[in-house]
């Protein structure tokens, strides 16, 4: 499980991904005007081959004049992360042909399927 902490801070949504086997990843999405999830989506696509689900955490927020917008953003973000979890579950649920050879080899190679280039090259893959 990758702990995924979401919090609103100033005019940003800050999402922190934490797990023992990966380096902590922090994504900051501006919510001042339009909300663009591109960086988040790209990172999630990158994570798919790891087949590790996300454990969602949303920190409390109290901004009365923006409550409606933040609620909608929280809802949308949560849906996106749940879509990710559903995909990972599907992947894990697919019965694979028994792998001949060390699993770690396969796993290493599968991980290279990340198609979208991620600018952070410090990932453990």
């Amino acid at each position: 499980m990758i702990i995924t902490n979401n919090k609103f801070e100033a005019d940003n949504l800050i999402i922190t991904f934490t797990e023992a086997s990966i380096k902590t990843k922090i994504i900051t999405i501006s919510i001042k005007d339009d909300v663009d999830y591109k960086e988040l989506i790209d990172y999630l696509v990158y994570l798919v081959p790891n087949e590790k689900e996300l454990k969602l955490e949303f920190e409390e927020y109290n901004v009365p004049d923006k409550k409606e917008k933040l609620d909608l953003i929280k809802e949308t973000t949560t849906e996106i992360l749940e879509h990710f979890n559903n995909s990972v579950k599907t992947l894990k649920g697919i019965e694979s042909t028994p792998v001949e050879g060390p699993e770690s080899t396969i796993q290493e190679q599968v991980s290279t399927v990340g198609i979208i280039e991620v600018t952070d090259d410090d990932l453990p893959f």
Partner: protein, 792 residues
């Protein structure tokens, strides 16, 4: 047993007896014994000889030999070695030695010639040891005789030294115009001799290639025969033909073909596999006969319907030539037998490998070149499969060309479609995009997905192929090799699993992105109207960007495609080895202007502009497609094909020609030239042992027949067996055929007889059977006939 064709025999026309002691002091080195000499001659295989004493004839020796001669004994021609006196410019004298060999071999004639000589010297008052003759006296004395003049041309008492100090014209007359040969010029000195001699001659006589050189034993002691007086080892010379005077004449006329050292003859006789004999028996309307074939040039001559081609095809059948047409004669040849050179027995068949024989039927060569498609040649060469494959390769090239047109059409159509799409941005969109309302930015799908199908196909093929490979016994796999294959198969399975996993991941990523897109879209729909308007404006902007991007992308791709056609090389060349020396080439050459053909599909094309720029005109105005009221992609393809039909037709009818290697090719050459060149090339092939051609002269140019063909036949007849049917006397006479088989049809009964050129009675038959034969024989004789030349 003597051969029925012209075969080699040893000759020695310079042997002394003790009679020479009368005219030269201490000339003979031992006790002369005719019996000993005869035994030595027989032991050494000499079949033609002469007793040539100095300026005198040993009549007794001749008489004894002629009276005791048995069938099969060596032939003895009357001869003398004369001292010829040459007056120098300062009135001094030099002498040289020359043999005179007379066309006489009877007691009466030897006595007659001896008497003539003795009377001459008596009348001149010349003592025995002072005897000499001048050249004029030679002609005066022996005017009524046929004789050969064989002067020493090297070493002691040679003709060149004798003439150096005086008029060289006489030498030319004696050794160039006469039927003569140079004696005593060592082989290693002959080239130098020729060059030196040439400097002395008048220009018209220089560079004669067929001057005859010959050496005899010049033996002076029968007990050590054939050792010469010098004690050196003697190597016999051989002449080709029967041991007769006429054979010598032929040899001196054509030394290249008819004079060889013994060692050379041994090499010539050791020729490749060839047909030695054909025993014809029990063929309806054909006389039984045993034909012996020369390893060199055999010609079959005869009148029309005399049975020449029947014999030719009979041989073809016996050697299993695929092209023989003997069966059309409807004759049973089962009792005909054939013998190989390396066999002692006659046999039913003598199969040759296809590459060992060149078998050309009458008119074949011309037929190959008449229509220019050369299909007949391919069929005759047994190369139909190769031709089919070559044509298949060209059809593939045609398909590629058509696919290129189709690809061009497709790319144009994509550009055209992109160009005619809507490019929409609405009033207020900019304002809405700049409003302070928020929306969720749509995600753009810019992922390049992998194509897994291709990779799956490859792995599946490898699985099947490696399985087949592993169990194929022909590879003789060792245990270790089998283990390697199994490890490779395991690797393939491993990679298949990996591929499957990656495919699942990719599919799930697609699914994830679709779900996210739907969620964002759904959320945007819940926003207030201003936010939705902003979202829609951004969607239209994104769409416009996509459309524009697509248009430029398609334009760029079409530009590349058009450039590809600008430089497109549709040429193709397929080669079929007809044999080792000749290749059949099927070629589509790049001669048509493809860009012009492409641009011709639109109205008013701009000739100086590229395909791309011309087709931008068609994008802008689809009505510019020539001959069509309205553009469709199908119509464009039809038009592209039509305008480039000349190229398409070239694939259906490629230029077909023969590549003769260093002899050039048949492209744009006349049928006659090609026939000549083809024949020349096949004759030059190294690997074939037997060449059979029915009437090679048919439709060949006269120049080639008389010069090139003859030269080639003469060159190759000593390297491979040639069997020709011919009407051409030049081939027979100038080709110096070793074996002449004359076919005769007497009221439907065919017979074959073997003749040789050097036999007088044969010459008459040959002349009677070859149009122009007499003229050719006359010309051949006249070449060195002084009387006729001086009178001409």
């Amino acid at each position: 047993m003597p051969k029925k064709y012209s075969d080699w025999f040893k000759v020695d026309l310079h042997i002394h007896t003790n009679k020479s002691d009368l005219t030269k002091t201490n000339d003979y080195d031992g006790n002369f014994d005719l019996g000993v000499l005869k035994t030595k001659l027989v032991e050494n295989g000499v079949q033609l000889f002469s007793l040539t004493d100095h300026n005198i004839i040993n009549v007794d020796a001749y008489k004894t030999y002629y009276e005791e001669k048995n069938d099969g004994d060596p032939t003895l021609l009357v001869g003398v070695e004369f001292d010829i006196r040459v007056t120098q410019d300062d009135d001094s004298h030099l002498t040289y030695h020359t043999l005179l060999i007379f066309n006489e071999n009877t007691v009466d004639k030897v006595e007659e010639l001896s008497t003539l000589i003795e009377i001459h010297y008596k009348q001149e008052g010349i003592a025995l040891k002072d005897r000499y003759l001048t050249e004029d006296q030679i002609f005066e004395l022996f005017n009524n005789y046929h004789f050969f003049y064989i002067p020493h041309a090297g070493g002691h008492k040679n003709i060149i030294d004798a003439y150096k100090g005086t008029d060289i014209t006489k030498v030319q007359e004696m050794v160039l115009l006469m039927e003569c040969a140079h004696e005593k010029v060592k082989e290693k000195h002959r080239q130098r001799h020729k060059e030196g001699f040439d400097k002395l001659k008048d220009s018209d006589f220089r560079n004669k290639e067929d001057e005859a050189f010959i050496n005899f034993s010049d033996n002076h002691d029968c007990n050590v025969y054939p050792t010469p007086k010098s004690g050196a080892v003697h190597e016999f010379y051989c002449l080709k033909g029967e041991p007769t005077f006429e054979t010598i004449r032929f040899a001196f006329i054509d030394p290249k073909s008819r004079i060889r050292k013994q060692s050379e003859v041994d090499a010539l006789k050791n020729v490749k596999k060839h047909i030695a004999e054909l025993d014809i028996k029990n063929i309806a309307n054909v006389d039984d006969c045993e034909l012996e074939l020369s390893p060199n040039l055999n010609v079959i001559i005869g009148g029309a319907s005399s049975g020449k081609s029947l014999l030719f095809n009979l041989i073809g059948k016996k050697i299993h030539s695929t092209k023989h047409t003997f069966d059309t004669y409807k004759k049973d040849e089962s009792n005909v037998t054939i013998k190989a050179s390396n066999s002692h027995n006659l046999q039913q068949d003598l199969p040759f490998n296809s590459d060992e024989v060149v078998y050309i039927n009458q008119g074949d060569i011309v037929k190959y070149f008449e229509k220019g498609d050369l299909n007949e040649l391919v069929v005759d060469s047994g190369k139909e499969e190769e031709l089919t494959e070559a044509k298949h390769q060209i059809s593939l090239r045609k398909k590629q060309f058509d696919e290129s047109l189709e690809s061009f059409r497709n790319q144009f159509d994509k550009l055209n479609t992109s160009y005619h799409k809507d490019f929409i941005i609405r009033d207020g969109d900019l304002k809405n995009m700049l409003s302070d309302k928020f929306h969720f930015v749509s995600i753009s799908n810019n992922i390049n997905y992998d194509n897994f199908q291709i990779r799956e196909d490859i792995l599946n093929r490898i699985k099947v192929d490696s399985g087949d490979f592993k169990i194929d016994a022909i590879y003789d796999f060792t245990g270790l090799e089998k283990k390697n294959i199994e490890e490779f198969q395991a690797l393939v399975i491993l990679k298949s699993t990996l591929l499957k996993k990656k495919k699942e991941i990719q599919n799930e990523i697609k699914s994830f992105l679709q779900n996210v897109t739907s969620s964002i879209s759904a959320k945007n729909n819940t926003l207030d109207s201003s936010s939705r308007a902003k979202s829609e404006a951004f969607k239209r902007k994104a769409s416009l960007l996509d459309t524009c991007s697509n248009l430029f992308s398609e334009a760029s791709k079409f530009n590349s495609c058009a450039k590809g056609l600008n430089d497109y090389d549709y040429s193709v060349k397929q080669q079929i080895d007809i044999d080792k020396a000749v290749k059949l080439v099927l070629e589509v050459e790049k001669v048509e202007d493809l860009p012009k053909g492409i641009c011709s599909c639109i109205n008013d094309p701009e000739a100086d502009e590229s395909i791309y720029k011309n087709y931008l005109l068609l994008v802008q105005d689809n009505n510019r497609l020539k001959d069509y009221a309205e553009y469709t992609d199908t119509r464009l393809l039809q038009k592209l094909r039509k305008e480039n039909n000349l190229i398409v037709e070239k694939f259906d009818n490629p230029t077909t020609y023969l590549d003769y290697g260093s002899n050039g090719n048949s492209k744009n050459k006349s049928p006659g030239y090609n026939a000549e060149m083809y024949l020349k090339t096949v004759l030059q092939q190294d690997n074939c042992n037997l060449i059979m051609i029915d009437q090679p002269e048919d439709n060949l140019g006269n120049t080639f027949k008389n010069e090139a063909l003859i030269n080639i036949l003469r060159e190759f007849k000593f390297k491979k067996q040639l069997i020709l049917v011919t009407h051409n006397p030049s081939i027979v006479v100038y080709g110096d055929a070793e074996n002449i088989i004359i076919a005769d049809n007497n009221k439907g009964q065919i017979s074959y007889q073997q003749l040789v050129l050097e036999r007088k009675d044969s010459q008459k038959q040959i002349i009677d059977n070859l149009d122009g034969g007499k003229a050719i024989f006359d010309m051949r004789s006249r070449k060195y006939n002084i009387k006729k030349l001086l009178n001409s």
